[in-house]
């Protein structure tokens, strides 16, 4: 036995050896990126429930030789006319652990299950009490289409631009579902951008809010909302699901799941199911979703100029969504004779309940006796519906 050759073979087969092979430096960079994301999730508490999973998935997928995730298998899966086109059996037979977990993302199951949980945690009462605030949720989709156009200018394809634009919806599951369906090759970068910016909302939004509103507008105290009956709350998810899905069938997975979760919460007779959707189911799916989305950030695919552009476009999308919501908020302020505080417009970017909290915080700085939280929850949950409609439109056009 040639001891030296054996040792050389062991070295070359090891992950450490791969670091020194051609292009091995990319793995080191990605491991550092994973560590930065772990730091942001753990120390800075940036959406830790998802970011820690994404970061760890990124770490595992970029340890050379671990074989937990195989992007080449997914290339085969997507190659039209190929032997393994849309063959989950091929993935199950040859894939690693993260490939198998990723099937839930690829099939669009995880984002929808998350939406059931989101629905079970959402109170649509403020929106039902003041339906005008629906328009703020629509207005705040401005960033989606602005970033879509920006991505086209930067040379992305229509599908890719649509997937990037939806970051402006500030809704993680919607962004993941849209990019899985339209541009799976960008999923990792889009998910990281979406969740990072959602965590950064308290830093991104306030300067824009102060720039676009006057002290007088920010100080407006809004009237107390009317009490919404239990029956209205039960009827709402049924009516919205039926109406929106009939209007735009491609929204069915997201709106259907969201409203189903909400119905479980409001009926009062399915408390166990509502509790499971809000806690156990949500936690399990978040765990799988985070780690499998993180796995798509393989060095060979992630380290390119596209990723930087996506990060930049994501920020633009968030900023312009905030601007859209605020401008319509200002219009409503004028039309209502100063009864509506335009700050609640910025909450239309979804990101429940973070964006509503930011409206409350900025409003209270202008007028300490101001309580905008419940008023901002209306546009906030309307933003979830608005971004689902925007995603449904883009999926319909480019899917």
């Amino acid at each position: 036995m040639d001891v030296l050759k054996t040792l050389e073979g062991l070295w070359q087969d090891s992950g450490f050896g791969n670091f020194f092979a051609e292009g091995g430096w990319k793995y080191i960079v990605m491991i550092l990126v994973a560590c930065v994301l772990l730091y942001l999730g753990i120390k800075k508490k940036f959406e830790p429930l998802l970011l820690v999973g994404i970061a760890f998935g990124c770490l595992l997928a970029n340890l050379p030789g671990a074989g937990l995730y195989h992007p080449e298998l997914w290339d085969e899966f997507l190659r039209e006319g190929g032997e393994f086109y849309h063959s989950y059996g091929h993935i199950l037979t040859h894939g690693g652990l993260l490939d198998i977990l990723y099937i839930g993302v690829k099939s669009g199951v995880y984002p929808c299950l998350i939406f059931i949980g989101v629905g079970a945690m959402t109170d649509f009462g403020p929106l039902i009490a003041n339906p005008k605030t629906f328009f703020l949720g629509a207005a705040a989709q401005f960033g989606v289409f602005f970033a879509f156009f920006g991505a086209i200018l930067l040379g992305f394809t229509g599908n890719q631009a649509a997937a990037i634009g939806i970051i402006g919806g500030a809704d993680g599951p919607t962004a993941i579902l849209t990019s899985t369906l339209l541009a799976p090759e960008l999923l990792g970068a889009i998910a990281i951008a979406a969740y990072s910016y959602m965590a950064l909302i308290p830093m991104i939004q306030p300067p824009i809010m102060k720039l676009l509103t006057t002290e007088k507008e920010r100080s407006v105290k809004m009237e107390q909302l009317r009490e919404v009956s239990k029956t209205e709350k039960i009827v709402f998810p049924i009516v919205v699901a039926a109406f929106v899905i009939l209007l735009l069938p491609s929204t069915a997975p997201l709106i259907g799941s969201l409203m189903f979760g909400n119905l479980l919460k409001e009926t009062g007779v399915t408390e166990r199911l509502s509790d499971t959707a809000q806690n156990a189911l949500m936690n399990i799916v978040t765990l799988f979703l985070g780690i499998s989305v993180g796995a798509t950030t393989v060095a060979s695919r992630f380290l390119n100029p596209q990723t930087l552009y996506i990060i930049l476009l994501g920020l633009i999308a968030f900023c312009f969504s905030t601007v859209g919501g605020l401008l319509i908020g200002k219009l409503m302020y004028k039309l209502s004779g100063g009864k509506i505080n335009p700050l609640i417009g910025s909450a239309g970017v979804s990101a429940v309940p973070m964006a509503a909290r930011v409206s409350q915080m900025v409003g209270q700085k202008a007028n300490p006796s101001n309580f905008l939280l419940m008023h901002a929850m209306g546009p906030n949950v309307a933003g979830v519906i608005g971004s689902a409609i925007a995603a449904g439109f883009l999926i319909k056009v480019f899917g």
């Binding site: 109170d123 629906f134 156009f149 040379g155 394809t157 709402f236 009516v239 929106v244 596209q306």
Partner: protein, 123 residues
């Protein structure tokens, strides 16, 4: 187009004019969808409110032998400080009492000068 493998690129490049049209149409569709949804929600709310009003309308009362007693109770003076009935939702009386005391303290007003209509736990 970026220098990536063809198999890794989804979709085709979009002409600028078409991109502008898609973006405008998309934003319009979101507004239209929301506008129609607002109409539906308002109509449903109005129907339910009308139903509730109808249900609350007084029906022809049957002769009540306790009527004189009821009248006496309704005209009886309220105890000092009882400004109305407080409704509690998912809140026990002990927590409610504590919350009312905190609110009164924060506002710097005596509790018997405040009127609490309902207390509900925001979940």
């Amino acid at each position: 187009m970026f220098t990536t493998l063809a198999s890794q690129v989804s979709g085709k490049p979009l002409p600028l004019g078409e991109a502008v049209a898609t973006a405008l149409m998309g934003y319009g569709v979101v507004f239209l969808g929301i506008l129609l949804l607002v109409c539906v929600v308002v109509i449903v709310s109005k129907i339910m409110a009308a139903g509730k009003r109808k249900a609350a309308e007084p029906t022809t009362p049957a002769p009540d032998r306790d009527a004189p007693l009821q009248k006496l109770i309704s005209t009886a003076p309220k105890a000092p400080g009882s400004a109305g009935e407080l409704k509690l939702y998912d809140t026990d009386p002990k927590t409610a009492a504590m919350l009312m005391a905190i609110v009164a303290d924060k506002m710097g007003k005596p509790i018997n000068e405040l009127r609490f209509k309902s207390i509900r736990e925001v979940k």
